[in-house]
């Protein structure tokens, strides 16, 4: 076929460098007309950078992008749009104060025709609303397009993104994690649309962490690792296990260490803690020396519970006890003083002071102990930071390196190191291994095991089911803002846990 000869989109030897990071290293990619080409890879593998290059938002440092054989030099996303590219971005980009219709059609709002009206760019609101409603209907959504987008939940925002891309009648459609916040019904609807577009001859790039989706929809798949494209082949010839191996770069034989001493006293105890945003009061207990996993879907209230325990969100009632002592509610400083440490999911915003260096970040929680009299001892701080850096194997040029230039794994080690320097009694980890490489992941697991072995009470929120099941001495499953099930390590199988997460069976 003709399309075999000239691919719809071809990227040749793309390289993109950011200060301190080589985001893309000599990457090639081809998308043919009428195919769905999936891209998989761990977080930080370079997928999002690639998407932004295709979208014209970044310019590559080297290499070129060709559409139907013609070389492009886009300087602005609008040029890429004109060139037939439509992108659904991973982070839903919406305008909260504008209507849904305007959100979908922004940049391409329908104008009135003829005369003065066209001259001043007068809008045709009815056409806009009709067109938006039609696009949403294709995705099975019936929300009136005149509503403000700010009131929509994550699924609604995601649908806006998808409808926006569809509205462009593009030749090439890039979908970056389009199903992350969609329900099963919306996902089915989206896949039906994708099948239709495929028949219409579009080239589609589909990025997802959800491997079953890849096998369901994609014709070919490229695997990205550390900014390189390490594999490209037909989906038919692969299975999930092989794909995971390709992503990880080795055979996956993760060992989750478990050396526990399970007869500890209650380390953390929640007594009917009523956190706003949850369905009701939560009571639970984590004994000293125990690792409890908190499983559940995104949005099931796990992080909210952690915020409630830490006092980052003021509880409406109930109490938190650490080793039998009551913790003043709604005050993070009191929680920390009582011996709770929290490693948040959002490292960049909540975990780190991004514009500061490793030294300051590592010593943030122990400033008081580094003072001589009222003054901070710079030498004591330097020594302590160096020591922590070594102990937690943070790989950075020096303690003066800015945390922003560290890899995800090393950033996480800085956050964990900061808290462990305080020798807390309770450690709450929120998605501790999200977006970090396999080696750093194993180190964090080992560290957790050691800490529990030394008698710390560990509460780990994890969406990585194998991790949650293997690390947890117990698995608590949250659903719809409440703890829906409690499973012991032995009974926590993947099927059982999933069933509890989804509320089936």
């Amino acid at each position: 076929m003709n399309s075999e000869a000239v691919p719809l989109l071809s990227l040749k030897a793309i390289t993109k460098r950011f200060p301190g990071v080589l985001a893309l290293d000599n990457v090639n990619l081809e998308v043919r007309s009428g195919e769905v080409h999936a891209i998989v890879g761990e977080n930080g593998a370079g997928k999002s950078t690639l998407v932004k290059i295709i979208a014209g938002a970044y310019r590559p440092d080297a290499g070129n992008v060709r559409v139907a054989g013609a070389e492009t030099r886009w300087k602005h996303p609008s040029e890429a749009i004109a060139g037939g590219i439509a992108v659904v971005y991973q982070e839903s980009q919406i305008y909260p104060s504008l209507s849904i219709a305007e959100n979908i059609l922004m940049g391409n709002l329908p104008r009135r025709r003829g005369g003065v009206a066209a001259g001043i760019g007068l809008l045709n609101r009815r056409t806009a609303n009709d067109r938006a409603a039609e696009l949403l209907l294709r995705l099975g959504e019936k929300t009136p397009p005149t509503r403000l987008a700010g009131g929509l939940g994550p699924a609604g925002r995601q649908l806006i993104e998808i409808a926006r891309a569809l509205s462009l009648n593009a030749r090439i459609l890039v979908l970056d994690e389009p199903t992350a916040s969609l329900g099963a019904h919306e996902t089915d609807q989206l896949f039906a649309v994708i099948e239709q577009l495929k028949r219409d001859g579009l080239g589609i790039i589909f990025i997802s962490h959800h491997l079953p989706e890849i096998f369901r929809i994609a014709d070919r798949v490229s695997v990205f690792r550390d900014g390189r494209s390490v594999f490209c082949g037909n989906t038919r010839e692969l299975d999930e296990k092989r794909l995971v191996e390709l992503m990880a770069g080795r055979e996956v034989t993760t060992l989750y260490p478990r050396h526990r001493n399970l007869n500890g006293a209650p380390g953390l105890k929640l007594d009917a803690l009523d956190v706003p945003g949850l369905a009701g009061p939560v009571s639970l207990e984590v004994r000293s020396g125990e690792v409890v996993s908190l499983a559940g879907l995104v949005g099931s209230g796990r992080s909210e519970l952690a915020w409630g325990i830490m006092g980052l969100r003021r509880p409406a009632g109930g109490a938190v006890w650490v080793e039998g002592r009551h913790v003043k509610p709604g005050d993070p400083a009191a929680a920390i003083e009582a011996g709770i440490a929290y490693v948040p999911e959002d490292r960049q915003n909540q975990g780190l002071a991004m514009q500061m260096d490793v030294e300051e970040n590592l010593t943030l929680a122990i400033l008081k102990s580094l003072c001589r009299g009222p003054f901070l001892s710079l030498s004591a701080r330097r020594n302590r930071a160096a020591e922590l850096m070594k102990r937690f194997d943070v790989r950075a040029a020096s303690i003066k390196t800015g945390v922003g230039s560290l890899s995800g794994g090393n950033q996480q080690k800085v956050v964990v190191g900061r808290w462990l320097a305080r020798e807390p009694k309770v450690l709450i980890l929120d998605e501790p291994t999200k977006g970090i490489d396999v080696a750093a992941k194993a180190e964090i697991h080992k560290l957790m095991d050691c800490l529990a072995g030394d008698g710390m009470a560990v509460l780990m929120i994890s969406s990585d089911l194998p991790e949650a099941l293997a690390m947890g001495d117990r698995v608590l499953v949250m659903r719809g803002g409440r703890v829906a099930a409690e499973l012991s390590h032995e009974e926590a199988s993947e099927e059982k846990t999933l069933a509890a997460m989804l509320g089936v069976g």
Partner: protein, 332 residues
Amino acid sequence: MSATRERTELSEQAATERRLMERYGREVSLLLFLVLLTTIIGVRNPRFAGAENLRDILLNNAYVAIMAVGTTMIIITGNIDISIGSMLAACAIVAGRSATAGCHPAVVIALTLGCGAAMGAVNGFLVTVVGIPAIIATLGTLSIFRGLVIIIARGRTIVNLPEWFMQIGRGDLAGVPFPVIIAVIVAVAASFVMSHTAFGREVYASGDNKHAARLAGVRVRQRVFAVFVINGLLVGLATLCYATRFGQIKTTPVAGQELLVITAVVVGGTDIFGGSGSILGSMIGVLLLGTIGTGLIFLKVSSFWERTAQGCLVVGAVILDALRRRKRERGF
């Protein structure tokens, strides 16, 4: 999943009911407050609510209103322009000098508007091309324009203005002063552009979410630059309504005008972080501030207290906003 669906549908109903209040709540409550204020002062001193005085309030605030239109647009893009007071003074010199030099009215008007637009373009250039934060860039141009004004005018008052020139500020159409008519036309036109043209909606989008707008293909920098130029143009127009009212033009820049305008816009409900706000709200804000100013005189309160009253109004308005926001957040 079904649970979230149910919730969206339920909140949808409530949202439709809330929508009108949400979109126009600020304008409605401000208007009520304005009426209440006028009534109270009117009861204490009936002359206040007389046609004569109301006309004066409108006339005195016409030029503020025109500048507030530009500032509203600037703030909607997520920027700010604190140099407008200096720009007003600069435009006044251009207008006065060219008028006394005997230029044709059309030339005078064109020069004044052009002077404003040029200064707006300088600000726009610094913000969008050089990439200096708007508050810093316009803080710098505030000093520069101000200094240049004094250098050029040497503090001399411009007198002997031609009759036609003063007619702009003093004339009226069926009893409505020209400046008021101009202000109303500008406000209506700007409202229309902001809500019914692609340009206007793209300006909102640029301020609401700059990155999203760029990715959607909106030329954000061009839009922001255009708004700065429009703002300059409107300052020029405001000059024509302001400098023409008193037979002479004082060339020392009046400090603090930019703050009065920004205050009016903020009271009118425009979000200082960009993305939302309305011209209508700003117009009511201008009227409210003007009414308070005049009202104090009628209440025999020393005008020394005017700024205190204005400041309290802003604090009150933003605190109400914060409380309303908090209530809405709790609703989720």
